[in-house]
């Protein structure tokens, strides 16, 4: 039998075992083994600790116990697994275990050509696929010195901001759901469905739009998209305000999130956190402004910033960003230029050998792609940087000291997407 791993078995809290502990014989697991005459029991972890951190974590003090949250848990947003060390209901330490959704996308991209890569990066940020495509095509366009037509840029910004709103409405809903509220997630899904349906009219897919192309976008705006968008824009502001008010004015929600999981400015910078979580800590870092990449320099919008850095601030930042995105969409619709939506490119893309880094601002932070070309028709190295990965890395810092009930509140307020974290 291959070594059984993981802390997902109950462990004795009666004594203080060594790292990779040897619990006492009244451990229920040993009794269980005797009952069924099998040798299922293995200490946790089943191997001597490989790092000092692991040894420190898997050593239980008196009155502490491990709780294995996930990989299947109603509130882990996918297949995240948090091994939580509890004393009572208070969290002592957390060890996130990733990789339950590691699909080897980078390897597949390095074995495909540039067109397939755009399709392969879609399922990473499966709530907001376009931004991962955007980072990829930014990097490829730098590799190939392609200039994108302005109309294509505007269409990219338009669809991207729509998807940002969809992602943020889902974020509010999931945060409320993890706090026990049933209704906001359904209201959020109403908005999200509206948006993905209109994007489906534009791109042909509901979730994994394979829409952006190197040097433009796949198709021009069509009538159904514009009519749906008009319908939605006529009530978007009112709807978002209403669904945000459902939570902002809820005393229980505010009490659950204020002052919880505070991520201060210095820590956020040392972690390299980007996106709303960083802006909630007081750093006005937004790639759209800090390092303009599309037609964003021409557009007028603010970068909302807060200083508290707690869950409530992170939530309110998202609400403000939805307002800003609506402003941006309005401007895009008003100064949408005419012209082609694709640059003239050869069928077979063989850029000169070189390296390029493209980054764009996704709903969760900076999406980056570092691609190396060796002159063939596919990237030699394709590196995907996902903001959720860094956001999730802050969890072992934010959680200890809080109660178990706050675990999911904090994780949800960081807005992780497991597909992006695990690649």
């Amino acid at each position: 039998m291959p070594p059984r791993r993981g802390a997902d078995r109950p462990t004795s809290t009666r004594e203080k075992p060594q790292a990779g502990g040897q619990p006492s014989t009244d451990d229920p697991r040993i009794i269980l083994d005797r009952q069924i005459g099998a040798d299922l029991f293995e200490p946790i972890p089943p191997y001597p600790p490989r790092t000092e951190r692991e040894g420190e974590f898997y050593t239980l003090a008196d009155g502490e116990m491990f709780l294995n949250v996930g990989p299947h848990h109603p509130a882990t947003h996918g297949v995240l697994r948090l091994v939580v060390k509890l004393s009572g209901e208070q969290i002592v330490d957390v060890d996130p275990v990733l990789g339950y959704l590691h699909r080897g996308v980078e390897k597949i991209c390095e074995n495909s050509d540039y067109y397939h890569v755009i399709d392969q990066v879609d399922p990473l940020e499966y709530i907001s696929s376009l931004f991962q495509e955007w980072a990829a095509v930014l990097s490829f366009e730098k590799l190939m010195d392609v200039t994108v037509p302005r109309r294509a840029e505007y269409i990219r910004v338009l669809s991207g901001e729509l998807l940002r709103i969809a992602s943020h409405t889902l974020y509010m809903g999931f945060l409320a759901l993890d706090l026990g509220g049933l209704t906001p997630i359904l209201y959020g899904f109403i908005e999200r469905d509206e948006i993905v349906e209109m994007l489906a009219a534009l791109t042909g897919a509901r979730m994994l739009f394979n829409y952006f192309r190197i040097g433009g976008v796949n198709g021009d705006l069509n009538h159904e998209f514009m009519s749906r968008l008009g319908d939605w824009m006529s009530r978007a502001a009112r709807q978002t305000e209403a669904s945000a008010g459902l939570l902002n004015e809820n005393e229980i929600f505010v009490r659950r999130t204020r002052g919880v999981g505070i991520l201060d400015r210095a820590t956020a910078l040392r972690f390299g956190v980007t996106g709303g979580n960083l802006r909630a800590a007081g750093v006005p870092f937004d790639v759209r402004r800090a390092h303009p990449y599309s037609v964003y320099p021409e557009l007028d919008f603010n970068v909302p910033t807060r200083t508290e850095g707690d869950s409530l601030a992170r939530y309110l930042i998202r609400v403000d960003e939805v307002r800003e995105s609506i402003k941006i969409i309005d401007q895009c619709l008003h100064n949408m230029p005419d012209g082609p939506v694709m640059a003239r490119l050869p069928r077979l893309l063989r850029p000169h050998p070189g390296r390029a880094w493209g980054a764009c601002e996704g709903p969760r932070g900076m999406m980056g792609v570092y691609s190396i070309s060796d002159g063939s028709d596919g990237p030699f190295r394709f590196r995907i940087h996902d903001p959720s990965f860094i956001n999730m890395e802050t969890v072992p810092t934010l959680l200890p000291g809080n109660l178990l009930a706050d675990t999911m509140a904090i994780v949800a307020s960081l807005d992780p997407v497991m597909g992006g974290i695990d690649k």
């Binding site: 229920p28 069924i36 709780l67 109603p74 178990l404």
Partner: protein
């Protein structure tokens, strides 16, 4: 010879083959019905008087047995109704449709869910303490059901009119936590354990404000018998205790919400934190018991709130109770008279409506369909008429009506809160109980006692 034998053997077969389905049914069931009727009449005539004497001899015992059975039987449909209410109301509040396929407007959905849960595989996880694991749902369910014994549904309709009714209620209702704790401990699962401990802490700390908030009512009514508390509020709308004890009513409602483990105090089965709390490892029938007990609890706390603060079965306005119908004494006809009346009404009415349906519906309605529909229509009408007559004639029908109206208003409020509110944290929950509810109920008790003393002087 063979022909005779063939005739003898063939006769019943041929005769049977000639009959239509209805005739066959009639041929089978008519003798059975006649025989059963004869046996029944004989049994009533011969064994009736001594049996009635026996029952009359020890009436309280019989009364208690009947009441207990009736209450136990009544909990299941109550739970079904409330589950359906929750499914549907929450769906509407979520801008959804909710169940609408099974039964009219999906009204059979909860029944189907319940039966499905009961028919699932039922096992205890390896390493669980099987005895405790099995007993826990029973304890919870029985604790909930037993509290119904002192709820007055209508004048005269109460399981047992104990003079310490409220004390009994809180004592027995407190047993619920025992079941939850047993479930959490015996499940061999840390989530279950956390849920059980949470429920213990929560329910025990909310018992105190709950009980204290009721003491004011007891002072005003001068009794602990729920029946007399209701009587003390009889009269008009403004005799209800909610107007004399607003603070107590508020505290009671909040504490009762926590007592029934309802949102925003549903820490014990907080989905997003501890997977399903104490019920994580439960499946099949045992889980069904928990499932029912939760909703029976909702009904019970709603009923108690209506009883203590909203006048129980008393009408919100002065209603001429027991309207005197001199021209018709229902008891003068006796059993057979009533049976004759009901049968004639049903048969004739069914035929009448069946004819109408047949005429309106035309060909696609077969005779049996028409008769079935006619029977349904007639039944609905008869029940409606009888109910109206009963509402006018008997005060207990009125009592049940008003009682259920008030109770389900509260049930709706609970469902509404569940659809609206997030969940509070454990420490916030405890802090609220000890820092706010307890002082409030104590203040209310003090003010009430002072007022009672001053007014009585």
């Amino acid at each position: 010879m063979s022909s005779v034998g063939g005739f003898v053997r063939g006769f019943p077969g041929q005769f049977w083959r000639r009959l239509s389905l209805q005739e066959r049914l009639a041929l089978i069931f008519a003798p059975l019905a006649i025989g059963a009727g004869v046996v029944t009449v004989l049994a009533i005539v011969l064994l009736g008087p001594p049996f009635l004497d026996f029952l009359r001899a020890n009436l309280p015992l019989v009364r208690f047995a009947v009441a207990a059975t009736a209450i136990l039987l009544m909990t299941v449909p109550t739970a079904f109704v409330i589950i359906y209410l929750e499914l549907k109301v929450i769906a509407r509040m979520n801008l959804r449709v909710g169940p609408n396929r099974i039964g009219p407007w999906g009204s059979a959905m909860s029944v189907v869910h319940g039966l499905k849960v009961l028919s699932k595989e039922d096992f205890a996880p390896t390493g669980a303490d099987t005895t405790v694991f099995t007993l826990a749902p029973v304890v919870t369910y029985m604790a909930s059901v037993m509290t119904l014994l002192v709820i007055p549904f209508a004048p005269g309709l109460i399981g047992q009119d104990l003079n310490i009714g409220l004390l009994y209620f809180f004592a027995v209702g407190g047993l619920t936590v025992l079941g939850l704790l047993m479930a959490g401990w015996s499940s061999f699962n840390k989530y279950s354990l956390l849920g059980g401990l949470r429920s213990a802490a929560q329910i025990i700390s909310y018992e105190i404000p709950l009980t204290l908030s009721v003491v004011g009512v007891i002072l005003l009514a001068g009794t602990m018998s729920t029946n007399r508390i209701v009587l003390a509020q009889s009269g008009s709308l403004f005799d209800w205790f909610v107007f004399k004890q607003p603070l107590a009513a508020l505290v009671f409602f909040i504490a009762a919400t926590a007592e029934a483990n309802r949102t925003p105090f549903d820490m014990t089965e907080a989905d997003s934190e501890i997977v399903a709390g104490f019920a994580t490892e439960y499946s099949g029938m045992r889980f069904g018991f928990f499932f029912f007990a939760e909703y029976v609890n909702v009904f019970i706390v709603s009923a108690l709130a209506a009883t203590l603060f909203f006048g129980g079965w008393t009408a919100p306005f002065n209603w001429p109770l027991a309207y005197n119908l001199n021209w018709f004494n229902p008891w003068s006809l006796g059993f057979f008279g009533w049976a004759a009346i009901v049968l004639t009404v049903l048969v004739i009415g069914s035929e009448f409506f069946a004819v109408i349906v047949k005429l309106l519906g035309g060909r696609e309605w077969s005779a049996w369909d028409a008769m079935g529909l006619g029977f349904l229509i007639d039944l609905v009408l008869v029940v409606g008429v009888l109910g109206l007559a009963g509402f006018i004639a008997f005060d207990w029908v009125q009592g049940i009506f008003w009682f259920l109206v008030k109770t389900y208003a509260f049930v709706f409020t609970f469902v509404w809160m569940r659809a609206t509110l997030p969940r509070v944290r454990v420490d916030q929950l405890m802090g609220f109980a000890w820092k706010w509810l307890l002082p409030a109920s104590l203040l209310n008790l003090f003010v009430t006692a002072t007022a009672v003393v001053l007014l009585n002087r």
